[in-house]
């Protein structure tokens, strides 16, 4: 019975923490007394319920999720491929290092402004999300590839191990923790930067566009409600992504102990 008690205890603790912050928020909102400066939790919830009821709401979040996710997937793929190439060829590593350093160091706003000249506002978040994910995945994966045990690679060379087996049994266990860390870090960053890009690019029907409108009309409860939606999607996306990775990892790990089709 102990695990369920612990689970219940944890839930109570979490609810208590949540109530504490909601209470503090409510007190501050009451103290300020102006919804336009600080919307109360109740007004935010009311705005959120009214947003969810709109038919455009789901279209809006789908619009943003699809584009930011596309940029993330492209960034992860490019980072992975470039890291694999760089780990093998020092020339590529040297060639890419100034570019990646610049991408990592430059402020997101600079890229957003520049990108507006190159791509349409509609696809701006794809590009920004790509730029956020790619260098993080590249750096982490390069580190992972460089840390693969050279002695195991020698063993694989002596035994003429197939490329598939090398990738699956030597590289994968070593690089998977780096991949997971890179993806979880860049996923949140892509989402935040993607929304910021939408606020500047204002593609019609995006979360950023709706967020900007709330500022124009000084509809602070809606600003809070949209921010809450962004946070919820970010947390859900991270949890979903980790769950998918965990499932894939456990499927692969099962194959580490016996051949496909049983013993």
């Amino acid at each position: 019975m102990k695990p369920s008690i612990t689970w219940a205890e944890n839930l109570i603790k979490k609810i208590f923490v949540l109530l504490f912050w909601l209470g503090l928020w409510q007190i501050l909102a009451l103290k300020i007394g102006k919804e336009v400066l600080l919307a109360s939790p109740a007004a935010t919830m009311q705005a959120l319920v009214s947003l969810v009821g709109e038919s455009a709401f789901w279209h809006t979040i789908t619009f943003s999720i699809v584009r930011i996710a596309a940029g993330f997937v492209l960034g992860v793929t490019a980072g992975l491929v470039l890291a694999a190439l760089s780990a093998r060829l020092e020339r590529i590593r040297l060639l890419l290092s100034p570019f990646l350093y610049a991408v990592k160091a430059a402020p997101v706003a600079s890229f957003i402004i520049l990108a507006l000249l190159w791509v349409s506002g509609k696809n701006l978040s794809v590009f920004i999300s790509f730029l956020m994910a790619m260098p993080i995945v590249y750096s982490n994966m390069l580190q992972g590839f460089m840390n693969v045990d050279k002695k195991l690679l020698e063993m694989a060379a002596v035994f003429r191990m197939s490329a598939k087996n090398k990738a699956l049994y030597i590289y994968l266990p070593r690089v998977l923790p780096y991949f997971t860390a890179a993806c979880t870090t860049s996923l949140g960053l892509c989402w935040k930067s993607g929304i910021a890009a939408e606020v500047i690019g204002l593609p019609r029907g995006s979360i950023g566009d709706r967020l900007y409108s709330t500022k124009l009309y000084l509809n602070t409860p809606q600003t809070f409600a949209w921010t809450l939606v962004i946070i919820i999607i970010s947390i859900a996306a991270e949890k979903l992504f980790l769950k998918v990775l965990e499932t894939v990892n456990s499927k692969i790990s099962r194959g580490f102990l016996t051949r496909k089709g049983g013993r």
């Binding site: 002695k151 060379a157 002596v158 035994f159 191990m161 087996n165 049994y169 266990p173 580490f256 013993r263």
Partner: protein
């Protein structure tokens, strides 16, 4: 009639940062009898087999008879994939290895049925060593290179494993690096002192 496999090493030299590790090493080995290469620690035995297997380049000298030959090896360290079971470590080194044969040989060398499918990181040093030996024996090869293969094995296990090696050489050339003076007799091997 077994096909003859013969390698000839001539005047092999290798140095690291100006420090000679191997100097004018020459010997011949063939598959009629295993060859034990004996030398004290630090004499360049491992460097020698790395050069023979093509993992390192010699500064000078030549090796003939290895062209087109396939190697399998027991390295000084086990070099097993830690997340894989003993069974999978053997199976992935040679995908054509028959599952029953892999299982049988792992059991023959004293691994328990439940140990065969556990990740090797959970096995003892001796069990891991035996898995590494089975991997080398079951891999399709012409030349077997064993670098201190029986270290960490107790006397009873050693007897079983040596017999297993002898039964599974299958006409291949066996080179054994060792500093155990009793091993050449156990294996019925010739000796080359480095």
């Amino acid at each position: 009639m077994e096909k003859e496999i013969k390698i000839t090493v001539r005047n092999l030299s290798k140095s690291y940062g100006g420090t000679p590790v191997l100097e004018n090493v020459s010997f011949t080995a063939d598959n009629s009898r295993p060859l034990c290469i004996m030398a004290p620690s630090g004499a360049g035995k491992t460097t020698l087999v790395s050069i023979i297997m093509g993992l390192e380049k010699a500064d000078s000298g030549s090796i003939s008879g290895i062209e087109g030959k396939r190697f399998s090896a027991v390295f000084q360290e086990d070099r097993l994939c830690e997340d894989l079971s003993a069974f999978m470590n053997v199976a992935v080194a040679d995908e054509r290895a028959d599952s029953d044969g892999v299982r049988r040989l792992l059991l023959d060398c004293g691994l328990l049925p439940e140990d065969i499918y556990r990740p090797v990181r959970e096995l003892s040093g001796g069990q891991r060593r035996r898995a590494a030996i089975v991997r080398a024996l079951l891999s399709d090869s012409d030349i077997l290179v064993f670098d201190e293969p029986f270290k960490g094995l107790d006397e009873d296990t050693l007897k079983i494993v040596v017999q297993m090696v002898q039964e599974n050489i299958n006409g291949r050339l066996l080179l054994v690096i060792t500093h155990d003076a009793g091993l050449p007799r156990r294996l019925g091997a010739d000796v080359f002192s480095l």
